[in-house]
């Protein structure tokens, strides 16, 4: 209590000296080994992949240096850019569907708060499944399961199977978004809502002017988290057995090139390009979050 009064009184915050606290140098000494280990675990494999991407590495014993040839072949490959396009479409559509669904559910559960605990348990249950299980369930449903019979879908093609995989992934992870958004809703300032109600705002206006803006940072964070997850999706599209134009994601192209064709040089180059694209996507989403936070 007295410390707080002292804080308000003085111009600069007081420096608290605690004899138990170790010095800054000791701090660094304790942290640096861990940081080095972390850096090694990330940078050494990345460096190895970059080195591999500069070689003509295949099944042969010799691995001559070829410079940027692998990168040229990746960047001029129509399969690669089609896969990137498919990956982006999947990421965008998964994010949109999940945000809308989760927002509707979260808002309803926010109003009927007594159902929240059981609903949260049920929503998080699918998230405990492995990604491959959810994707396989979705694919099987669309190929010859209940979705195929409900909508009288014809013979399963590669694109149809991919759609099933996306549906499976969406179902599995919507619970996570729901939990995030519900938390965001509980943080909406109550006094603002009451003030808006007192001013005569309709429920829709309260939603648009009070709830949505204060929910915006959480929405942006959820969008970023789900978009990156859907973009890097590998287990699901791997389950699509037939090869077809436009039915793979970049991760699958890298996997197939590395472990199907055994062309490790080209696959390494594709992997580096994928990392760069992902960084760009993450930067974009981060910028979006900052923009939303500033508004």
């Amino acid at each position: 209590m007295s410390a707080r009064l002292a804080y308000r009184a003085s111009a600069t915050p007081p420096v608290v000296v605690d004899a138990r606290r170790p010095s800054r140098r000791l701090d660094l000494l304790l942290v640096v080994p861990g940081l080095l280990l972390l850096a090694a675990l990330v940078l050494v494999p990345l460096g190895r992949v970059v080195q591999l991407s500069l070689l003509d590495a295949s099944t042969g014993a010799s691995r001559p240096f070829v410079g940027l040839d692998n990168y040229t072949s990746v960047l001029t490959s129509s399969t690669w850019w089609t896969a990137v396009g498919t990956g982006l479409i999947i990421a965008v559509s998964v994010v949109m569907v999940q945000l809308v669904l989760a927002l509707l559910l979260a808002t309803s559960l926010w109003h009927v708060s007594v159902l929240w605990k059981p609903a949260r348990f049920l929503a998080l249950l699918p998230a405990g499944l492995l990604a491959v299980v959810g994707a396989e369930a979705g694919r099987a449903a669309v190929d010859d399961g209940f979705i195929a019979s409900w909508f009288h879908l014809g013979e399963a093609g590669a694109l149809q199977s991919l759609l099933g995989v996306v549906i499976g992934e969406t179902w599995r992870t919507t619970g996570l978004v729901l939990v995030m958004l519900h938390w965001g809703l509980t943080r909406v300032p109550r006094n603002l809502l009451d003030a808006a109600a007192a001013d005569g705002a309709s429920p829709w206006q309260r939603w648009r002017r009070v709830v949505l803006p204060s929910l915006a940072p959480v929405l942006a964070a959820a969008a970023a988290f789900r978009a990156l997850d859907a973009w890097r999706m590998l287990e699901g599209p791997l389950l699509v057995h037939e090869r077809a134009e436009g039915a793979t994601t970049p991760s699958v192209v890298v996997h197939e090139t590395a472990f199907g064709a055994l062309e490790t040089g080209a696959a390494a180059a594709a992997a580096v390009v994928l990392v760069l694209l992902t960084l760009m996507l993450a930067g974009l989403l981060l910028g979006l979050m900052k923009l939303v936070a500033r508004r």
């Binding site: 099944t59 042969g60 192209v253």
Partner: protein
């Protein structure tokens, strides 16, 4: 309060770390399980692990025969590779590359001879014994097992594809049984009698295209020594002729092209013709119709220009084997005349020992008896078309499988498109 929390957390963390270290130490000290390493086991008989493409029957019997013949010197254990062609290649190379020295001898498909040689994972065959190893082997088989005139694998079996048919299907379809049949005649005849032409799919599309292009006077892939830059002969008049034949096949609706259930469809009521290896006579899926099974030479692209696709398997010791000489002894036993006779009897594969094949004779079509079939096979071996040779042949497979299958997708542009795709893939890039 805070201090107590920190202490509890530190204690928990160090306990977890200690437990982790203990379990990892315990797991590491487990004795190596399973047979497979070349160390002493079961009273000192070394075990040789033989990794080979799967076969419908007979591999275990061959291994047992040679184990008995070895008289305690070694014991051969067979391990089969996966059924799918691409999976076989990946499994073989990854297994040899993994550095475990538990595989001593491998069965290498002749299509992959050049690639396996380039990997350096196969043991070098000693030049002093090379003469013994090629003695009494058919020329075609030795050529398929060599790279740049250097023997890479020991020829084991090597066989052509033939045109199988049931009963009098050929006569009913109006096919001449006294000269070779062309693909056009076969398709027309089958369409006329509403029967199907099935094609076996274990690399079926590649061998079909290879045979068609060769029959039209071209070469699917040459300049194998050029590494990443061989000459692919798809975008040529021969390639376009091949595409027109496949297009006619698809338009006539006589079959789905190379398919996984070709054998079942052939054995079904509407089945009449089957294009596949000559060893299919002993296949269990065709056991029901074994009585009415007859063979003709492989259909040709142009009249009177025979050229059946040839394929086979060769044996080689691995570079990482603990005892390569012992592995070579085992290979010599597996390719001895007795073992080759057992091979021919149990699996139906054509042995590479010429003394077992007999002289090549001029044969006519529609061979019925087993002896006639042998003559058919011998003749096909001498006029046959070997697989394309390249250390990047799997990329060619991918390009052809993607571009030419399903057969309904083939048109006049297909050869040019697959030429570009094959050049991209063999050049080491993404499709």
């Amino acid at each position: 309060m805070i201090g107590q929390g920190r202490r509890a957390a530190a204690t928990a963390a160090s306990c977890a770390l200690l437990l982790g270290l203990l379990t990892s130490c315990a797991a590491g000290s487990d004795p190596e399980s399973g047979a497979g390493s070349d160390g002493a086991s079961e009273g000192g008989t070394p075990t040789l692990r033989w990794l080979t493409p799967p076969d419908v029957a007979g591999l275990a019997a061959l291994a047992r025969e040679c184990t008995d013949a070895a008289g305690g010197e070694y014991r051969i254990e067979v391990e089969e590779l996966p059924a799918d062609r691409s999976a076989r290649r990946v499994a073989l190379i990854e297994r040899l590359r993994s550095g475990h020295d538990d595989v001593d001898l491998v069965g290498v498909e002749t299509a992959l001879t050049a690639e396996l040689d380039a990997t350096g994972l196969l043991g070098k065959l000693p030049t002093s014994r090379e003469d013994d190893l090629v003695d009494d082997r058919s020329e075609a088989a030795v050529a398929a097992s060599s790279v740049d005139d250097r023997l890479v694998t020991v020829p084991w079996w090597y066989e052509p594809q033939v045109l199988w048919f049931r009963g009098s299907a050929a006569e009913r379809a109006g096919l001449s049984t006294s000269s070779t049949v062309t693909w056009d005649d076969l398709v027309a005849g089958a369409a006329r009698t509403a029967s199907t032409v099935q094609i076996v799919d274990d690399g079926g599309m590649t061998s079909w295209v290879n045979a068609l292009v060769a029959g039209a006077g071209g070469t699917l892939l040459q300049g194998a020594g050029e590494g990443r830059d061989p000459e692919i002969g798809l975008d040529t008049s021969a390639g376009r002729r091949a595409a027109s034949i496949v297009e006619a096949f698809a338009d006539a609706g006589v079959g789905p092209g190379p398919s996984a259930d070709a054998l079942q469809q052939f054995a079904a009521p509407r089945g009449a013709f089957l294009v596949g290896p000559s060893s299919l006579a002993s296949h269990p899926d065709l056991a029901v119709i074994a009585g009415e099974l007859r063979a003709m030479p492989y259909p040709t692209t142009e009249p009177d220009q025979p050229g059946a696709p040839l394929a086979g398997v060769g044996l080689a010791p691995t570079a990482s084997s603990a005892d390569p000489d012992l592995a070579l002894d085992a290979i010599e036993c597996l390719t001895s005349p007795e073992s080759q006779k057992t091979l021919a009897r149990t699996t139906g594969h054509t042995p590479t020992r010429e003394s077992l094949l007999g002289p090549a004779e001029e044969t006519t079509a529609a061979e019925t008896t087993a002896d006639d079939r042998d003559a058919l096979v011998r003749n096909a071996l001498s006029t046959g078309v070997p697989e394309p040779v390249s250390s990047h042949v799997a990329q060619l497979w991918t390009a052809i499988d993607d571009g030419w299958a399903p057969v309904t997708a083939v048109d006049a542009d297909t050869p040019a498109e697959t030429q570009v795709a094959a050049e991209r893939l063999i050049g080491g890039g993404l499709p």
